[in-house]
């Protein structure tokens, strides 16, 4: 049995098609990433898997249960850490945990012990009796992660788990998650648009405009690029691009006033390049490919090119009829 299985999933909002037929499967114990810019359909896909939204067509199973028909079984199988906080600010950290434990029917004896263990793990035990509204963003996120693990989920969904957190907190949260995966054999499905956050994944599905454009390990994705990334600044970008094409059959792309291409053994290619085209070159940058480069080469646009995501679009639509927010 797969931890997650998705077949030909689609989701429409009116005329807007947010998810256009996604299929994938996630093994037990795997860390699986959904990578893509805002509005690519990641969050919608996760919402469908979590029973928060209904698919327009297609099917999905989580922990063996069909999400459309056995909602409660699915809900009991999953832990969720949302993109935006979903805590009750007026309750204390402990009360938020208790509320969750009750909702998921965690038996009384285990409950207290488990809450204590998790709160200690995320270093919030000392603050357990403080209202959540006094917490910083990082503390809230840590509390949410602790809460998401409270009922021993089989699959943990992390929607942009470390969005807006400082690097130190991000690293610590990842340490917790990895530790738990080893201890409990947890499956993790995460969405992100931070490339470095997707690095620990076993496999990554790159999603753009509602479709999976590639599905591979991070290494495999990088290998597809074929070598190292070279970024050139020259006096005559057009001319150099033509020369690269003619002499080395390299397709260079012009972006933000510089030329960019990938080549095998870049460090050996650069001296050769200097000999042949040395004149007009102002700067050369050589590096190993990152997932950013992968994304760019797969979709033709940068992952950080902001497009409003579908939900935000809908929200904005409603807001226009209201007036200024609060």
């Amino acid at each position: 049995m797969k931890a997650v299985e998705v077949k030909e999933l689609t989701k429409r909002y009116g005329t807007l098609e947010a998810v256009k037929g996604i299929s994938l499967s996630v093994e037990k114990g795997e860390i699986f990433g959904l990578l893509g810019p805002n509005g690519a359909g990641k969050t919608t896909t996760i919402n469908i898997l979590c029973t928060l939204q209904k698919a327009t067509s297609g099917e999905a199973w989580v922990n063996g249960f069909p999400v459309a028909r056995q909602r409660d079984e699915v809900r009991r199988s999953i832990g969720l850490v949302f993109q935006d906080p979903s805590l009750d600010d007026y309750l204390t950290a402990y009360e938020n945990m208790s509320f969750h434990a009750w909702c998921y029917g965690v038996p009384g004896g285990v409950r207290r012990e488990r809450i204590r263990m998790l709160l200690e793990m995320v270093q919030l035990w000392e603050r357990r009796n403080d209202q959540v509204k006094t917490f910083s963003g990082g503390m809230k996120r840590r509390l949410e992660i602790a809460r998401g693990l409270l009922h021993y989920p089989a699959v943990l969904f992390l929607d942009e788990p470390t969005l807006g957190l400082d690097p130190q907190t991000r690293r610590r949260i990842w340490e917790y998650i990895m530790e738990l995966r080893e201890q409990e054999g947890l499956t993790i499905v995460m969405t992100t648009h931070y490339m470095d956050e997707a690095e620990p994944c076993h496999r990554i599905a790159v999603i753009d405009e509602g479709r999976i454009v590639a599905l591979d390990s991070p290494e495999g994705l990088k290998r597809r690029l074929g070598g190292d990334v070279v970024i050139l600044e020259t006096d005559d970008n057009q001319g150099v691009a033509l020369e690269l094409e003619r002499r080395y059959s390299l397709a260079a792309e012009l972006r933000d006033g510089s030329l960019r291409f990938t080549v095998d053994r870049g460090s050996q290619f650069i001296p050769e390049l200097m000999r042949s085209l040395g004149q007009g070159i102002r700067s050369i940058n050589l590096r190993r490919p990152t997932l950013d480069d992968v994304f760019l080469s797969l979709t033709g646009h940068d992952i950080r090119d902001e497009k409003p995501d579908s939900r935000a679009e809908i929200r904005a639509h409603f807001r226009q009829r209201g007036g200024p927010r609060r």
């Binding site: 409660d72 309750l91 509320f99 909702c103 929200r315 009829r321 209201g322």
Partner: protein, 288 residues
């Protein structure tokens, strides 16, 4: 079934916890009705004089103010689903393996409980405004407040289950809540109104709730025969007040010429509440 009860209990308990924590909400729901009581009471008392049955205006208004405080808290509590949605907590609830119906019922019941407690806070004012409270009256009042609060909290849940942002909130307060409250006899007797207004008042289910609460408060305050020409404001009072009749009945809502008793009033409210609650549960269940 156990699942359902568990869900109702959890959500209900959270509402109570929030009530205790969120003092500002408690005070605002208390301050506004009090302000009305003080300002309108002082302002209109001399203008209006005594009402039918010899009831002092402030004494008349007080039960209405208790009702208003309950209405307001109940409505706001029901509507707080919109806040839960805005601040994300609703997702935590919706994704939990608990029946949605239980969530809607728990929310309504929690809101109603909180509203009832809020109404009780105002009972401490009774001696100040000259209303004699007996233990029996209070014992009868609590379930009455609860039924009224349930009906209005259901209305709040029903509306909130369809609302996607907080923008519409002010609009709904102005267009739904305030008319319902003001046209329910909170501030004036509904005995001698122009026909069009009378119609609106009679259609408004809140009217019956307010009427029942007022009847209970004023019960037993029978006054000696009053001559309409003496000391009673000719426009506002006295209509249908026969000497020696119980004060509340002189002010009660009439439906098809029949003055409503407390029990009948509560029947109307309960019926309205049952319909709205069913709609609220259905509507909450259907959302994504």
């Amino acid at each position: 079934m156990m699942e359902m009860l568990r869900a109702i209990y959890i959500i209900w308990y959270r509402e109570l916890l929030r009530f205790v924590r969120e003092r500002s909400r408690m005070f605002s729901a208390l301050a506004m009705p009090l302000l009305f009581l003080v300002i309108f009471g002082a302002g209109f008392k001399n203008l209006v004089g005594n009402l039918a049955g010899g009831v002092d205006f402030v004494t008349f208004m007080y039960p209405g103010i208790v009702a208003m405080s309950v209405l307001m808290t109940a409505f706001m509590s029901g509507m707080s689903i919109v806040w839960d949605r805005e601040f994300g907590f609703l997702r935590e609830v919706l994704v939990a393996p608990i029946p949605r119906m239980g969530v809607a019922l728990g929310k309504t019941l929690g809101g109603a409980t909180v509203a009832m407690l809020q109404g009780c806070l105002l009972l401490f004012l009774a001696p100040v405004v000259g209303v004699a409270l007996t233990p029996i009256k209070v014992a009868l009042l609590l379930p009455m407040l609860l039924v009224v609060a349930l009906a209005i909290a259901s209305l709040g849940v029903l509306i909130a289950s369809r609302m996607r942002s907080m923008q519409a909130f002010q609009f709904l307060m102005t267009l739904v809540f305030f008319p319902m409250t003001f046209l329910s006899g909170v501030f004036f007797p509904v005995t001698n109104l122009p026909p069009w207004l009378m119609l609106v008042v009679r259609v408004n289910p809140v009217t019956y709730g307010v009427d029942a609460i007022r009847q209970l408060f004023l019960q037993g305050m029978t006054l000696p025969a009053v001559n309409p020409s003496l000391g009673i404001n000719p426009t506002l009072g006295a209509l249908g007040a026969s000497p020696g009749k119980d004060a509340p009945y002189a002010l009660a809502v009439t439906l098809f010429g029949h003055p409503m008793t407390m029990l009948q009033d509560m029947g109307v409210v309960a019926l309205f509440g049952a319909v709205v609650l069913s709609l609220a549960v259905w509507s909450f269940n259907r959302q994504d």
